[in-house]
Symmetry: C2
Subunit: 385 residues, 2 copies
């Protein structure tokens, strides 16, 4: 018997009560019953996005919403700046290039967070750039970029949009779209929203909507103008992912019930405990500047093959971590703190990590990781109960 622990940065575990909600008989989407749920979801998303504007739901994973951001707000030949600090930064580059945009890429070593000054320099060097694309949390490197500070910079330019991939940050850390000057914010269902994949959410500022009017890129399924019209009437342009939206309604209730501050605090605590455990075990964090609270990546010793390590834990011990992507493949491990994840998931992650390390011959004192994690958890949570 192997119990399964899904501790990779998405898809994440789904709460039992949400699974049960989604397992109820399917309802039709062109009904007042669905429209009521849909209206509720749209309202409840706003505080999580930190916006007064519409949060539009798309049936598609996070990449669909990223593409929607590009094709709805830009035109062929537009110059844009992309912070490229990992696999998902690279995805912004690829999407933009696919549609004929001219990309000025701020290339960073994987694991680094961009400095606001670097963005400022790019803006100064490229006065004709129409927007800045970034990840809030770059899932491939588990680094966080200083979104608030960069947003405050870009706010000063009427002619530029600030487009943020919040796929592993919305619902993980406080995100104040309106206040921070984020013009487009996208996220997906399978991360902090603890749902199965298949649903993404996108919100646009008034400035971004003004760009929509000028965009000449081809689009049909991802047309946000059409979605905004339909969704304002609490329906969707095309068939929506009904059960995921019903699940999201339940998830948002549980998040509101827990309190957004507590949701963010829980992610922060599990992330901090994991970072301290990983350091106590003698490893170097992948995120050099600002580690993300969505997941923690670290380098394995050179004599351990990360691919084999992750496979062993998944297949033999039931614990799914993520390995590295692209040039980090086989070199790192990433442990998620996302969504339906509590302190005992973190402690399970660290115990599993220790057992795996011992199996792979790493020389360390068994228990030091868990001890470090328990001390963080005691200090910031249990002692305050």
């Amino acid at each position: 018997m192997i119990k399964k622990y899904l501790l990779a940065p998405g898809p994440t575990m789904v709460p039992e009560e949400v699974l049960l909600e989604m397992a109820k008989p399917i309802i039709h989407h062109r009904t007042s019953e669905f429209s009521n749920i849909f209206a509720n979801v749209r309202e409840k998303l706003k505080p999580v996005f930190g916006t007064k504007n519409d949060c539009l739901l798309l049936s598609g994973s996070g990449t669909a919403a990223m593409e929607a951001a590009v094709v709805n707000c830009f035109s062929s030949g537009d110059k844009v700046i992309v912070v490229n600090a990992g696999k998902f930064g690279k995805r912004w580059v690829e999407i933009c290039k696919s549609y004929g945009l001219e990309v000025v890429s701020i290339d960073l070593e994987w694991g680094r967070s961009v400095k606001p000054e670097q963005v400022e320099a790019a803006l100064i060097a490229n006065p004709d750039a129409k927007g800045v694309f970034i990840q809030a949390s770059e899932t491939s490197t588990t680094a966080y970029h200083p979104i608030k500070e960069i947003g405050n910079l870009i706010k000063l330019f009427d002619s530029k949009l600030f487009i943020v991939d919040g796929i592993t940050s919305v619902g993980v850390v406080e995100t104040k779209m309106d206040e921070w000057g984020i013009d487009i914010l996208v996220t997906g269902s399978q991360k902090a929203f603890m749902l199965p994949p298949g649903l993404s959410i996108i919100a646009l500022s008034d400035k971004a909507w003004s760009f929509v009017e000028k965009s000449n890129l081809p689009k049909y399924y991802l047309s946000l103008k059409k979605e905004r019209k339909s969704q304002s009437d609490n329906t969707t342009a095309y068939t929506p992912a009904v059960s995921l939206i019903i699940g999201l309604n339940k998830v948002l209730d549980t998040m509101m019930n827990e309190g957004l501050e507590n949701v963010y605090g829980r992610h922060e605590l599990c992330a901090l405990a994991t970072r301290e455990a990983v350091k106590a075990l003698g490893f170097e964090l992948l995120a050099k500047d600002i580690p993300s609270n969505a997941a923690t990546g670290f380098y394995l010793p050179e004599n351990i093959d990360g691919g084999k390590f992750v496979k062993f834990l998944r297949e033999k011990m039931g614990v799914t971590f993520a390995g590295g992507q692209d040039h980090l493949k086989g070199k790192i491990v990433r442990i998620s703190h996302l969504g339906y994840h509590d302190i005992f998931d973190t402690l399970t992650a660290i115990s599993a990590l220790e057992l795996g390390l011992k199996y792979f011959g790493y020389n360390f004192e068994v228990g030091v990781g868990v001890k470090a994690a328990e001390e963080v958890i005691f200090k910031y949570k249990v002692s305050k109960l």
Copy 2:
């Protein structure tokens, strides 16, 4: 958000796939569809009981099956020997006395396992005794009694039955009913069979069935003769707990799939890891002679109120342990290893125990319990993967 971890010795956690099986639309019990499932369950139970005889299913919890053992095989005024070493030994005494049996009680300090010589002495002192009642695993003290050895003793007496409460031993440790001379073996659904409570199972040897013919105690719902007749035809005398039986069918498949040896080994491993952790934390095990692999009980320091401790872990941290019963109330904690429980449940249990101990001011080095548990788990499991 508080995730729930049910780590008390029953009810135990139910596997998701079993919950889903039981959530399917209910079927009628007087159908060939149900009879087929019922026939399968009856066959699959036999290796777990270690018997070639019928395993009868009763809709009622374990105590119902205990009562069935008494009322079907004995008569008013019969003398019986009861090994009374905890709350459930006391239950045998109470049931027997309720029906006018004369009880010779072998009273033991809670936490002790009976010695075969003590049973032998009682048999010699009471040649007219008709049976010996015992728990295999006394859940209230987490002690195991040497069933095999006692069975071999009683085998020598044609005129006596050996009645074993296997509620927290069947499915936990190897139990060879026929080979060990057990005449009546009972168990419940909510322990090693990882189901919700409400179903119990009882098997009788040929010798026990011959006692049934002579019993004069009143019975109706618990009449085993009537049940045997119905269940031989793959139906039940009264309405059965349909969904629990369907769940049991699924559970038995998963147990066979895992392999009974592996099921027993898993319980043994989690129990051993917990015992080592508890000892490393400086505590004394409640079970003095033979600790049960179903659960581990230990004494808390005198200045920690066990009731408050268990309540804190359950309500504030989501982790349900059991406290003590009767005179041990407030003094001990019992951690289960039963059923749908794996190494990470054990490690969660130990982490939660450590965090709780620190909260309650116990002076120890955080992490020593988990370290001890991890070392056991590595030695006996992970290193062999």
